[in-house]
């Protein structure tokens, strides 16, 4: 929390502006709780892939004064969605109780599956506020259920796309708009529940906003909101000022676009001048044929990385965005032109954040952070339920296996959490199993998946879904070729994998290192079929050379296992505290084999041998100096083939 300085520009009592500032945040919070508690789909109710925001009209335009996020990226993209929509909508024809629906990526939406409802609020006879609710919805039609249309090339092959469209007029549902939505989805009951929840939370928000205006007066609330933005901007600028002036260029790549097999180059140059910053994507590869590009959201989403590094504490509002301008080359992977497909969005988004983190880490070594998993490996599932008593029910569900965050200058990376791009929750297994014909066989930490370092990365995870009815699956994953990069001498995290498990047997298939009988769907394997990003390739060892799959049918009784790698390591792993490594090995997080290979630690009878370990570390350091040893990417050393 930022403590605002006492204001001198108003007669308002000291502290009043901060009271109102947090009152506005409280409105967004109450909207979010209302949305989460009344939504039907697990993606909103459990995963919290949803956000609510309050925008006010200022001298500049529509500025977000408060938000409450379930999914962090929305906090950064909300402001542009509000401005695109309100600039296009004729406010003179707007009546109280109107609600506008939009999910167009070329008007600021993240992808079509993230729908947005905006409620203009009349104050003293004119529209001066807009309330925004947004969430991912389970299905909006198109040939591939769930919204991640891997393998397609155009937006025409993706979910329904709505330019700003009147959804409620005078608080009355616009029947043609609802009919169009509900008659083009595979899960109309779930979608209707979610849309009503998205609408209902706006009504809640209007009530609370009017209470706030009535209590403190319109002018005071608007002044306090402006103060909140200014304070946040000042804090963000102070953070940016810590970074030395300069141009910091980073190159990386996505594995592929799901259609062509070539890596997709991405380039970002972070330019710092005093307390201002530009994030320039010039040099990035042209828009891909597949669906991994983004239309507009990188304009603000990549600012998450700056926020995390230089000013993590104050709540996000328009002031967070003000010091930074982004440059999106038209026709590149971060600014695809219509009708290019852009339903994946998460891999370019995660990589953009990784790259900006890396760029700033290079400039600000004292506060550097290694890359996180860089992919969410989202699993979309659906089909026809065949369980007794539920035969014939259409169902849809999501799973977000957790990855690892990178090691930091302060300590080890966080284990098993969604990538920073979203940072929302994963599904609630009890709900998923009750509502869907699936059993969550495993959702646990993947051993040996965290990048080695003085401060290691966080560990990634395993998610194994056992199908009780035939299940259609979409998987959206990257970092299959290589795991997340380390920094300051740290090693890479494990790369991503997926296996199909025929006739899942609980007594045989729970050991994640046991590969006998499993069918690799994607991953990097060496010539002997051993998973290895350092020695292997994505070609030949698995059914697919890409981690972006659609139309995978998991037959009843079979299972799908997805492994997402951990974060990169920070600092030299040969300097990691021996007792910390011993604890990780005792906890089953690292094997003694990988600890020896990457950290130079010698175990005997489960205990660290100090003298032998120090000798091995000296040897590895000398080998590294001579160019004969590098820190190995994280991966188990004891796979059972």
């Amino acid at each position: 929390m930022t403590i605002a300085p006492e204001t001198t520009s108003s007669a308002a009592p000291a502290g009043l502006y901060d009271t109102i500032r947090y009152g506005l945040i409280e409105i967004a919070r109450e909207m979010n709780l209302s949305l989460m508690r009344s939504a039907f789909s697990p993606v909103v109710r459990d995963i919290l892939d949803c956000t609510t925001a309050v925008h006010l009209k200022t001298e500049h335009g529509w500025e977000m004064v408060a938000c409450f996020e379930g999914c962090m990226q929305h906090a950064f993209t909300s402001q542009h969605i509000a401005n695109f929509t309100m600039d296009e909508w004729d406010l003179d024809r707007t009546e109280p109780g109107d609600v506008i629906f939009v999910n167009d990526p070329w008007r600021g939406a993240i992808h079509q599956s993230d729908v947005n409802l905006l409620r203009p609020i009349h104050i003293d006879g004119e529209v001066r506020a807009v309330l925004h609710s947004t969430s991912h919805v389970v299905d909006l039609g198109g040939p591939i259920p769930g919204g991640f249309s891997n393998g397609v090339e155009t937006a025409f092959e993706e979910q329904l796309k709505f330019p700003p469209t009147l959804l409620y007029a005078d608080d009355v549902p616009v029947r043609p708009a609802f009919n169009y939505l509900l008659e083009n989805t595979r899960v109309p009951s779930m979608l209707l529940g979610d849309i009503r929840a998205l609408y209902g939370c706006l009504v809640v928000g209007e009530g609370r906003l009017r209470d706030l205006l009535a209590r403190y007066g319109t002018d005071t609330v608007f002044s306090a909101a402006q103060h909140a933005i200014d304070v946040t901007e000042a804090s963000m600028r102070a953070g940016i000022r810590q970074i030395p002036d300069g141009d910091y260029r980073i190159e990386d790549f996505l594995d592929d676009d799901g259609v062509d097999s070539e890596p997709l180059p991405m380039v970002v140059t972070v330019k710092v001048r005093g307390d201002s910053m530009e994030i320039d994507f010039s040099g990035t590869g042209r828009q891909p044929r597949g669906n991994v590009g983004t239309a507009w959201v990188e304009a603000t989403r990549c600012i998450e990385a700056v926020k995390m590094l230089v000013d993590p504490e104050p709540p996000v509002n328009s002031g967070t965005l003000r010091p930074i301008e982004t440059i999106l080359p038209p026709g590149s992977a971060v600014c695809v032109l219509p009708p290019s497909s852009c339903s994946n969005h998460m891999d370019v988004g995660s990589r953009s954040i990784n790259m900006v983190v890396k760029a700033i880490s290079g400039a600000l070594v004292s506060k550097s952070i290694a890359a996180d998993s860089g992919t969410c490996a989202t699993i979309v599932m659906g089909g026809i339920d065949m369980r007794p008593g539920r035969e014939g029910n259409q169902w849809g569900s999501f799973a977000g296996p957790g990855g690892g965050w990178g090691g930091t200058w302060k300590g080890d990376g966080l284990t098993y959490c969604i990538a920073p791009i979203g940072n929302c929750r994963t599904s609630v297994h009890e709900h998923a199993e009750a509502e869907s014909p699936t059993v969550v066989g495993q959702m646990e930490v993947m051993p040996d998946s965290a990048g080695a370092g003085k401060h290691r990365g966080g560990f990634g995870g395993i998610y194994t879904m056992v199908a009780m009815s035939d299940t259609l699956v979409t998987i959206t994953s990257d970092r299959v070729r290589h795991g997340a990069d380390g920094v300051v001498g740290g090693g890479r995290g494990m790369s991503s994998y997926a296996w199909y498990i025929p006739q899942f047997d609980w007594s045989k298939h729970m050991n994640p290192r046991m590969l006998h009988g499993l069918e690799p769907l994607y991953g990097a394997f060496d010539e002997n079929g051993v998973p290895s990003a350092d020695r292997g390739s994505v070609e030949g060892g698995a059914t697919n050379s890409t981690g972006k799959l659609a139309g995978v049918v998991v037959k009843a009784g079979d299972a799908l296992r997805v492994v997402i790698g951990g974060g990169g390591g920070w600092g030299d792993p040969l300097e990691r505290d021996l007792e910390a490594i011993a604890n990780d090995v005792r906890d089953g997080l690292y094997s003694a084999g990988y600890a020896a290979e990457a950290f130079g630690v010698v175990f005997e009878d489960g205990e660290v041998r100090d003298v032998e370990s120090r000798e091995r570390r000296r040897h590895l350091a000398a080998e590294r100096e001579a160019g004969r040893w590098t820190v190995p990417s994280a991966s188990p050393t004891d796979w059972i083939l």
Binding site: H60, G61, W62, E63, Q79, H80, N83, F84, D87, E88, W89, D90, D92, R93, I100, W106, G108, P163, P164, T165, L166, A169, V174, P265, V267, K271, R273, G274, S276, E278, D280, S282, G283, T284, G285, R286, Q287, R289, W296, A299, T300, S318, L321, R322, I324, E325, T326, I327, L328, P329, P330, G331, S332, C335, L337, P338, P339, S340
Partner: protein, 86 residues
């Protein structure tokens, strides 16, 4: 506006960059002659800026005109009269 900014072919170059067009102006803050005009996304959305490349002093920020093609796409109906339904 018409429908000419609704659909696009893919770029021919393998990588894409934004050109910063030198304006010939002098930065009032630091005296640099490296001042350029180019498209950005600022905190509100797409804008055209004239900025000093040495100190980022902002000389001008404007809403893009049709000639700026920024962003490249545009609604076909943005200059039509609005109905009650939008």
């Amino acid at each position: 506006m018409g429908v000419d900014r609704l659909l696009f072919g893919p770029p021919q170059k393998a990588t894409v960059s934004v050109e910063r067009v030198r304006t010939g102006q002098t930065c009032p803050a630091c005296g640099s002659s490296d001042v350029a005009r180019y498209p950005v996304a600022n905190f509100l959305g797409p804008r055209m800026v004239v900025k000093c490349q040495d100190c980022f002093e902002n000389l001008e920020t404007t809403v893009p005109t049709a000639d700026d093609h920024w962003p490249p796409w545009a609604s076909a109906t943005s200059d039509w009269p609005a109905s009650r339904n939008g």
